[in-house]
Amino acid sequence: MVAHLLKLKLTLLRNGLRRSPWQLVGMAFAGLYALGLVATLVVALVLLRNAPQDVAYAAVVLGGSAAILGWGIVPVVASATDMTLDPARFTTFAIPMKQMLAGLALGGVIGIPGLATSLVALSTVATWWRGFLPALAAAAGAALGVLTCIVLAKVVTTATASLASSRRFKDVSAIAFMVPLVLMGPIVAGVGQGISGSTGFLPVLAQTLSWTPLGAPWAVAGDVAAGRPGPALLKLLISAATLAVLTWAWKVLLERALVTPPYAGSGKRKGGKPGLLGILPAVPAGVVMARSLTYWFRDPRYSGSLVVIPLLPVVLVFQGTQTGDFTSLAFLAPLSAFILAWSISADVSYDNTAFALHLASGVRGVADRLGRALACLAFALPVVLVFAVGYSVFTGDWAALPGQLGLSLGTLFTGLGLSSVVSARYTVAVPLPGESPFKKPPGNVGQTLAVQFGGLVVLMVLVLPEVALLIAQLVTGNALFGWINLAAGACLGTGLFVAGVRLGGKWLDARGPELLAQVSVNR
């Protein structure tokens, strides 16, 4: 039965790849990334063999603890865990609980995160290759550690399954997860500073952690090598007991989950609130705009990128205070303009087959394009203006304002025009409606990369005049270039915006059914 479950997991993986060769390419990219990371860590662990014992000890225990912590936390916040072997799907088969647990746990090792963790954990054997006993202890510790990681993840996902199946929780957690992700730089820098400020603290922390379930499996080998058999044995017991308790908890939770399917209901609410649909003008472009705007706030796949925008200045200012150089703040307004404008380049892909409503209603392509672009513009324009003016307020450099505005507005309008064309012609692989923004999207990864990259190149070419004028102003210091830039950005931008909306609309009119067929492939 265990072998069956493992075979099932492998078959699912293989069939997923068989759907298209591009799927394989995407998997290969993810694999390469993981491989690079794993290789670095493995090499580091092998090299640690020659390091002093206490250094190796601290590094292995701290790293290992972080891994277990990560396996415990990520499934909750990302809600993007691998559910190919969702226990709920086995409800109707009478699989003995013991075999199901073993099969699911080993199945968890198959897959990129599981394999990567296993490989890195096993290389601690090389670190403690200072004798037969330490190496053996390292192997035992690694096995216990990896199993703890996987079972912990299972416990967490099973425990939160009913919570996580509520749409509201999914939406909120997905958006909340963006915040630490964007602030990763400052957080890492802050933690790094704290650590380098107190190097003596790390071995103490490692020593403490080694007595907790987080660090115990990783500390066994080090204690053996240091000639402390007593603590080593105790820590081995702690790890084994942890794994046993976690497995027991998982079993109990699973037994309960299998007979009580998650309840995802929500209260009834009466109507009478048309929202934006009642406010914006009742012409096709206006209602498309109202619908798009509603989605910007209600669909986490859209609102995720809205959360990023206010965090951008935080990141850039932080970087400035670190280096004492605030020039990177000059990129804030153009960068935000670009991110927001480009975010609608996959609009039809985000609609997925809901786009059929537009097609069936006979909405004119231009109205469709214009509505979506205006919805983005409705908040992008104020944001970009505030950021551009904010830069001058912050730096006191008011001569830079016209140039800033020119480039930012040019990028915003040109980008919206380009996005309108791109989303009318090409579909990209995006998370399906209702899924987490972090979930690996199904579909053609190769085309997605090509469209994204090609779009970026075209956009850069289109805003070249504004960029050139900005550089000219920086080099000559002549404020006139700034004013020309403002005029160029406004005129070129609006021109390209109108052209993009019209061309996109024309293509949409001509190719609507083909576009629907393309998005129907991923559903």
Partner: protein, 269 residues
């Protein structure tokens, strides 16, 4: 609501009927990769008829209806709605049709009420007219109490009903409903049937696809049997079933019924 263009010659008007066809499809064909999904289907749906399209799973019903309604471009063939060619004048043709496609998503982050409004306003209807009709539709389909709930939180049957409401809002002359009764509870199904009956009585045309034979026999006056991408029989229900029940006639036409005494081991006694 635009009238059909009167001085435009109708394609291949059926010689038998005095009334113009609500939907006339000629030689529709579609191939997906190596698989021929629809292999030359021609069909006349008389105006004012309640037309059922039945067929086993994978028969090509959805593909045919998608091609007839302008959602999927056919490889061959034409589709004409009240004299307007769906693929030459798509915007005009779509004004005449209300479509409930099967297996497509909805804009489900809108509330049920918003979704129906959206469908109406997208077609350029007047705001007050839309508001009035939305209230009527919500009441008729018994959705008032959930009108403010997001469609994503709806049950399957409620989702079907809200999609149906979106197809009705602009009072089309032809309704094309792909599997309208799937997952809908019996009470709502009866409500929907009476709505459709009075719609047909007032001169509208309804095309439904289904694989519930009983329902089609009771509800429709015309029926077409489709299997393997081909049309096996079409006409009034009484003609097609020729005295037998529609279900028996269907099985006879489509074949594939196994009359073996197999699965002995399944008998419990």
């Amino acid at each position: 609501m635009t009238a059909p263009i009167p001085d435009r010659p109708l394609y291949d008007r059926p010689p038998h009927a005095g009334t113009p066809a609500a939907l006339s499809i000629q030689g529709l064909a579609k191939r997906f990769g190596g698989k021929i999904a629809v292999d030359g289907i021609s069909l006349e749906v008389p105006a004012g008829s309640f037309y059922g399209i039945v067929g086993p799973n994978g028969a090509g019903k959805t593909t045919t209806l998608s091609m007839a309604t302008g959602l999927l471009r056919p490889d061959f063939g034409t589709a004409v709605v009240h004299g307007v060619d769906v693929w030459r004048q798509p915007l005009e043709a779509k004004k005449l049709m209300g479509i409930l496609p099967d297996g497509v998503r909805l804009f489900d982050r809108l509330t049920g009420e918003q979704l129906i409004m959206y469908a109406g306003l997208l077609r350029g209807m007047d705001k007050d007219v839309v508001a009035g009709r939305v209230a009527d539709l919500l009441a008729a389909l018994d959705l008032q109490n959930d009108a403010g709930t997001l469609v994503v939180d709806y049950s399957a049957g409620m989702t079907k009903k809200i999609a149906l409401a979106s197809a009705l809002i602009h009072a089309p002359r032809l309704l094309v409903l792909d599997e309208p009764f799937e997952a809908v509870d019996p009470v709502s199904a009866a409500n929907i049937r009476s709505i459709l009956d009075s719609y047909v009585a007032s001169g509208g045309t309804v095309i439904v696809s289904s694989h519930v034979m009983d329902l089609v026999q009771r509800m429709c006056d015309h029926v077409a049997v489709v299997a393997g991408g081909r049309l096996l029989a079409a006409g009034t229900v009484d003609d097609v079933r020729a005295g037998a029940s529609l279900e028996d006639r269907f099985v006879q036409l489509v074949g594939g019924r196994s009359h073996t005494e197999g699965l002995e081991w399944l008998r419990t006694s």
